[in-house]
């Protein structure tokens, strides 16, 4: 096949990509340089909209919350998924299939539904979590999980981890099963115990999977919206505000399309940067 023929076959996809992805992105970038009044485009204002970023406390708070979300997602679902999949991998194939399916179920639940379910679990009036704590004599630990600034973001991150954890298990399990069993057999002959095998064989050989999951988690964490919107709308106060909720409010509720475009461009730049880094690292391996 000549390169000209190859481009000919690629052309439809390129046109669709340009029309539905590239052009809208360029449009948003263009909007960010204009003043808007109630949805009607006004004067070209250059970088004026961008200059507001520095003094926008909500933007910086949201960016910080996104960073915390990324860190927590990397810390818990990935580590727990790695450990659990290593344990599971030693069971028989039937157990592995069933357990992996069970762990994966939360991943199949739309985040809006997950938000509603966990909203009920955390509800300060009739929530399951407080009920259980009361029932086992730990009523003093019961709280208004999503209503207090010091617990709201962490409580929501637990939900995020709940939906992501099963995905990590499935990816790691597949990767572990591709490791040559003779490596473990040789280690056993040398007297290595479970932890030593996990640390010196499993973890190093799962580096690429960990890298993929980590970068995927980071990108997902920047795009989070549904879960937060149905549970707290960024509150209480600004405690669970993230970039996506800030964009939504600025665009839909305030109607400040120019500044919403600026926030969108910043969010896009962050996600594209993470994506580029991930492609570069994965390709260099």
């Amino acid at each position: 096949m000549t390169s000209r023929t190859a481009y000919f076959f690629l052309l439809p996809a390129l046109i669709l990509y340009s029309v539905f992805v590239v052009l809208p992105i360029l449009q948003v970038v263009g909007y960010s340089f204009f003043d808007w009044d109630n949805g009607i485009i006004g004067q070209f204002v250059g970088l004026n909209n961008y200059s507001r970023l520095g003094s926008d406390g909500v933007f910086w708070a949201a960016l910080g919350h996104n960073a915390i979300w990324v860190a927590l997602t990397l810390a818990f679902p990935l580590m727990a998924g790695l450990l659990l999949s290593a344990i599971l991998a030693e069971r028989n194939s039937s157990t592995i299939r069933w357990m992996a399916a069970i762990y994966f179920i939360p991943r199949t639940i739309p985040l809006v539904v997950a938000g509603i379910i966990w909203g009920w679990i955390y509800n300060p009036l009739f929530g399951l979590l407080n009920f259980v704590l009361d029932s086992v004599g730990l009523g003093s630990l019961a709280g208004a999980w999503l209503a207090e600034s010091n617990t709201a973001l962490l409580s929501l991150n637990v939900v995020g981890a709940w939906t992501f954890f099963g995905f990590c298990v499935v990816i790691y399990l597949a990767a572990i099963q591709s490791i040559d069993p003779s490596l473990y057999e040789a280690a056993e002959i040398d007297g290595a115990k479970w932890w030593r095998k996990f640390r010196d064989i499993t973890v190093p050989l799962l580096k690429n999977s960990t890298l993929f999951l980590g970068l995927y988690a980071a990108i997902e964490a920047m795009r989070f919206f549904d879960l937060i919107w149905v549970t707290t709308q960024g509150g209480p106060g600004y405690a669970t505000e993230v970039l996506t909720t800030h964009v939504y409010k600025t665009f839909f509720l305030v109607g400040d399309f120019g500044y919403a475009a600026v926030l969108s461009v910043v969010l896009l730049a962050i996600v594209l940067s993470i994506s580029s880094i991930s492609f570069w690292i994965l390709r260099s391996k």
Binding site: N38, G39, E148, K249
Partner: protein, 427 residues
């Protein structure tokens, strides 16, 4: 899609046997349940008003109450507004749409149809630079829904002073009953409650001095109002974790008999009356919270009818005739009887004559007795940019995370920015 679903989305009323020449597209928020649960009444009124619009037809789309303002904003941006919309909030947002030329001026129709029942207060809230752009319909009031049985069981009379209200709340709290059911997860309920507290603490004149004058938010009267609201939260008047409780959940808590009172508006009357199967429901007005402040309550229209500037003159004429019918005597009666919705200008005597639910009569008899002293609804008076600061800052204030001074400083900063951007609305 079954017949019911199709009906729920769109209702086309064919007015004459022949095909209609003029179609008025209408967006409204009258659903079957929840806030503004007046959907069946709206359906009936479209049929009732058919003769008034002579050959035109109404193509109705129901938009969720919470989402309609966002949908309308996008429609304005895209130049695809419906001919007629019943959306919220009023005042400053309406003025914004008028400013960019999205809305048709309605002065001619006001004159043609003599909508004199819409008084100067409401006309002001629906005006921009001297012209009218909205037709308010529902009379919204804030009041205290209370459980008559719980009050009787604890020997509490209806509070006529703020001290009596506080004493009642303390009694219920001591008895392990939530004094005031309140849920602010959606962030807007606190805005209504604070509007009422502000009016009853600072008074109407002090509100106008800030909202329409040059007095800053950081004044003593506003500070006292913020402190009063925070004190309710600190003193345990509200259920645990109120910032994480939904508005509907708070209403359900009250209707289940687990709370003595809830403070909200007439917009939820329909649902309250339907849901009050386990309690004996009553209404009273919160007394003034400071000596020298006159009794009153928060007034508003919440939403208003508005006409698209891009609609043809025939369509605008048909829509105005239809609106005139919706505000007429026959329609007012249907609104009251089928939807517990009271059209502006309806008198307590008419409510009695039409056999309105006793709770509706109780609410409006009390609320309409202070017509000269109505307070402003911040939610529908402030520009959206300020409202979006008010929401989280009120959560922080009543959550005990900021002081009244910090709250008012944040409001003043956002207020100054809105004024600088030309977003402030004045009647």
């Amino acid at each position: 899609m079954n017949k019911f679903a199709i009906r729920a989305i769109t209702i086309v009323s064919t007015v004459t046997a022949v095909q209609a020449e003029t179609v008025v597209t209408q967006w409204d928020q009258f659903s079957q349940s929840g806030i503004s649960a007046a959907g069946p009444a709206m359906d009936e009124l479209i049929l009732t008003c058919a003769p008034a619009i002579d050959g035109a037809s109404i193509l109705r789309t129901i938009a969720p109450s919470i989402g309609i303002r966002d949908s309308y904003r996008l429609a304005v941006s895209a130049g695809k507004t419906p001919d007629l919309a019943y959306t919220w909030p009023a005042a400053s947002v309406l003025a914004g749409y008028a400013r960019v030329g999205a809305l048709a001026p309605l002065d001619g129709y006001y004159e043609q149809y003599g909508w004199d029942h819409i008084n100067d207060f409401y006309r002001g809230r629906n005006s921009y630079e001297g012209s009218l752009y909205g037709v308010p319909m529902e009379q919204d009031l804030m009041g205290v829904y209370y459980n008559k049985t719980l009050f009787a069981e604890h020997g509490i009379s209806l509070p006529t002073t703020y001290a009596e209200f506080q004493a009642a709340a303390e009694t219920f709290k001591s008895a392990g009953i939530v004094p005031v059911s309140f849920g602010n997860r959606g962030r807007w309920p606190a805005t209504n409650t604070f509007s009422l507290i502000l009016g009853l603490t600072a008074g109407k004149a002090a509100e106008e001095a800030v909202l329409f004058g040059d007095t800053p938010w950081t004044n003593d009267a506003f500070k006292l109002a913020a402190e009063n609201f925070q004190a309710w939260a600190n003193d345990g008047y509200f259920p645990r974790g109120f910032n994480g409780v939904g508005y509907d959940e708070a209403n359900a808590l009250f209707l289940s008999g687990n709370a003595a009172m809830t403070i909200t508006g007439t917009w939820v009357l329909q649902d309250m009356i339907r849901g009050a199967t386990d309690i004996d429901l009553g209404v009273f007005m919160l007394p003034p919270m400071v000596d020298g402040i006159e009794a009153g309550t928060m007034w508003g229209e919440g939403s208003q009818w508005q006409l698209s500037a891009s609609a043809s003159s025939e369509t605008q004429d048909a829509a105005a005739a239809y609106l005139n019918c919706l505000l007429g005597d026959e329609a007012k009666q249907i609104w009251v009887q089928k939807a517990n919705t009271v059209v502006i200008g309806t008198t307590p005597e008419e409510l009695s004559e039409w056999g309105a639910d006793p709770v509706v009569q109780e609410f409006f008899t009390a609320g309409l007795s202070t017509t000269e002293n109505n307070f402003y609804d911040l939610h529908t008076t402030l520009p959206e940019s300020v409202t979006q600061v008010l929401y989280p800052e009120l959560q922080l204030l009543i959550g005990g995370e900021t002081t009244a001074d910090e709250f008012l400083n944040k409001m003043q900063t956002s207020w100054e920015l809105a004024i600088a951007n030309g977003e402030r609305w004045r009647p």
